[in-house]
Amino acid sequence: MSDESLAGLAEAIRGRRLSPVEAVERCLGRIRKWDSRLHAFIRLDEEGALETARSLEADAAAGRWRGPLHGVPLGFKDLCHLHGLPTTCGTRMPEYFVSVQECTAARRLLDAGAIGLGKLNMTELAMGAFGDNGHHGDVDNPWRAGHASGGSSSGSAAGVAAGFFAGAVGSDTGGSIRLPAGCCGVVGLKPTYGRVSRAGAMPLSWSMDHLGPLAWTARDAALMLQVMAGRDPADATASRRAVPDYAAVIEGGIAGVRIGVAMNYFFEGVEEQTAAGVRQAARQLERLGARVSEIGVPDPRDIIDVAMLITRAEASALHARVFRERPQDLQPVARARLQVGFSISAYDYLQALRLRAKLTRVFVREVFAEVDVLLTPVIPGPPPVLAALKAAPVDEFNARGGRFSRLTRPFNGLGLPALSVPCGFTDLGLPLGFQVVGRPFDEALLLRLGHSYQEAAGWHLRRPPLE
């Protein structure tokens, strides 16, 4: 286990081989050196992090351990509200989102001993797949300058990849954890709808929003999810289900696990190296004992259309005030996306919600009778050059974003857990990734599969050159 990983750091701190202050200083050193290029942070809380680290160091010296993440530096997407720090949500307004309630998921991580390094860059209002931000700087791809970092949790993914922090919280409404994870070569988990409370985080679409972890490894994501998940009186949609011990089952191997490679839709129009990377990963999983087969799934285009309509209507309802009162403060891309939602009829919105229930029932029944997990690419091609994308007209830019998220969005509509795992590199050195999707609340199997794959393939041992 590398001491650069979250699990490795936590172990080194617990073993007193590394102090929380040293861990934070190490991260700050990288941030000072590289964040002028990456723009992962909107607000770096250097002083607050060091103060917390010193306090945790004193606790460690006295044998007081706050929790499993004692002394581990983390970052939080800047839509997680934490008292004392502004929450811009990627806008130019420092206090765009104000909440009495702190972000439950972030607070649980801090209470477990983690150290918050600050608030992370994101696409404005979490609307966008590429990681661009005209107010706070575009988040650059750590593996190759000028390429998209993926969005909307762009700072979360780029910062993990660059070693700015050991893990980060992101949010995912159409792929916003998994897309940047795929672009930046890190692990990203969108849990089941309701597995992680969304209280204290800016909503984009209450029906589609999910919070989840980004980290170097599936094991690290499991450690974070363990702390983040569970019921929360502050979020009525948070499930009351008990949280499994993810770390305890992660080493179980994947012998006999039935993996279905979704052949219809998910490989259509996918770039060659990307598709080859996923197929190669499937062969690796087979060598680890999984039973891999090619399957057909109910056409995901229906749930994509339904999810898109619901998201647009809810986003416009939620963010109507800024659109109407301060439209000049929003970037044209965000304005254009909000504008459409105002014209969606109540009839269409309600039918979409009813359809979502039916489509989910059919998908779960048909797919998971046949296999335990579904394997797909996570992004349809390598991270594109951002400047070329931004040169397109607004409508074309948004349409490209829709196409870029077409492999992740179905699982927001269906509410199913989905894990993005790096699986190699293109000729240009850009990350490749696959996505595994499981039954509702079966995050444990996804994390176990991701862990088994990473241990065998070893891609997570590579770090971006950052030149």
Partner: protein
């Protein structure tokens, strides 16, 4: 800013898709059944 014409096309497309799919919905289908499916509870409308 999105062109009004393009917006109308997008809205019309979305409405058309919903109309096509909603034709097969059972009367007892309702949004709350989505969470019931995830939670593994009784989830099929009686008239489906």
């Amino acid at each position: 800013m999105t062109q009004p014409g393009q917006q109308r096309v997008e809205l019309a497309e979305m409405a058309g898709i919903i109309e096509r799919l909603a034709g097969e919905l059972a009367l007892g289908e309702e949004p709350a059944r989505f969470v019931a499916v995830l939670e593994g509870e009784e989830d099929t409308p009686r008239d489906e």
